[in-house]
């Protein structure tokens, strides 16, 4: 088996811009993103003895980067008391989007119902400008929901992993995903599709 080796002198050239860009997606703050990357490299140096050469250098550094990013946007116990939070905010949250549930008719409020997106704006959803807006919308999502949204949509983890890692029940998970999707869609709608 080929053993991978570390080459710290070339880390900046190989990874600096890539890592800053990845961090920007989640934290939407240039200075913070750069600090996180610096922290990643320095932390890698101090833990260089832990590198066993089984993973590639890039994979190893990426896992450190991901942990540093997570540390930056979530407090340790951010998902504690999720059930209370979701129950207490339920009415006020959903009444933003839907009419009251009388006769089982909690339909969209007229001004909140999704409309078609402009094709020319949709076509630019792979642009850096779009992702600057996306990152700002991400920042606006309440912290508890944001952690879950990032895990699913950016880190591509599945429901089971996310519940286990964050110690939340599966029913809370689906509610949090539901809410974060409503918020993200609305924010992009306002700031990208209707400008």
């Amino acid at each position: 088996m080929k053993m991978n080796v570390l080459d710290p002198k070339n880390w900046l050239d190989k990874y600096a811009d890539y890592f800053v860009s990845l961090a920007m997606l989640k934290v939407a703050n240039r200075a913070l993103a750069e600090d996180i990357v610096q922290d990643t490299f320095l932390s890698a140096l101090t833990h260089i003895a832990n590198f066993r050469g089984e993973a590639s250098e890039k994979t190893w550094l990426l896992s450190i980067l991901n942990n540093k990013i997570i540390d930056s946007y979530r407090k340790k116990d951010v998902l504690k008391n999720s059930t209370d939070y979701l129950t207490q905010t339920s009415d006020s949250f959903y009444s933003n989007f839907f009419n009251k549930e009388t006769f089982n008719e909690a339909h969209w409020k007229i001004e909140k119902a999704p409309n078609d997106w402009l094709p020319e704006q949709e076509a630019k959803m792979n642009s850096t400008e779009f992702f600057a807006i996306f990152s700002l919308c991400l920042k606006k999502i309440p912290e508890k929901l944001r952690v879950i949204f990032i895990a699913k949509y950016i880190d591509e983890l599945d429901a089971k992993e996310i519940c286990k890692e964050n110690e939340i029940s599966s029913s809370n998970y689906w509610v949090m995903i539901h809410r974060s999707k409503l918020l993200m869609r609305e924010c992009l709608d306002k700031n990208w599709f209707n400008v």
Partner: protein, 84 residues
């Protein structure tokens, strides 16, 4: 229990649908709703579009990082790496 669901419920079920976790009853209810409710259908479509664009962006970032590390930051890190 009604066969018709609300938009609140339909948008909730859309995540379970995406994960392939709807039971038969939920599938029927969701399918009926989505076919009569353009806004909920758009909701599903637009969220899929958002998901796809994130994946596309993540791939693009590997080849062409849109953000560059500032020269001053680069310099201060390089010093530390060189010391190693």
């Amino acid at each position: 229990m009604s066969f018709f669901i609300t938009c609140k419920e339909a948008t909730y079920l859309s995540s379970l649908k995406e994960a392939g976790q709807l039971n038969f009853k939920q599938k029927c209810k969701y399918f009926v709703h989505i076919n009569f409710c353009p806004p909920c259908k758009r909701f599903e479509k637009q969220l899929k579009k958002i998901r796809d664009s994130i994946l596309e962006f993540k791939n693009k970032v590997k080849q062409h990082p849109p953000y560059k590390m500032s020269a001053s930051k680069r310099e201060s890190i390089q010093k530390e790496l060189d010391n190693y």
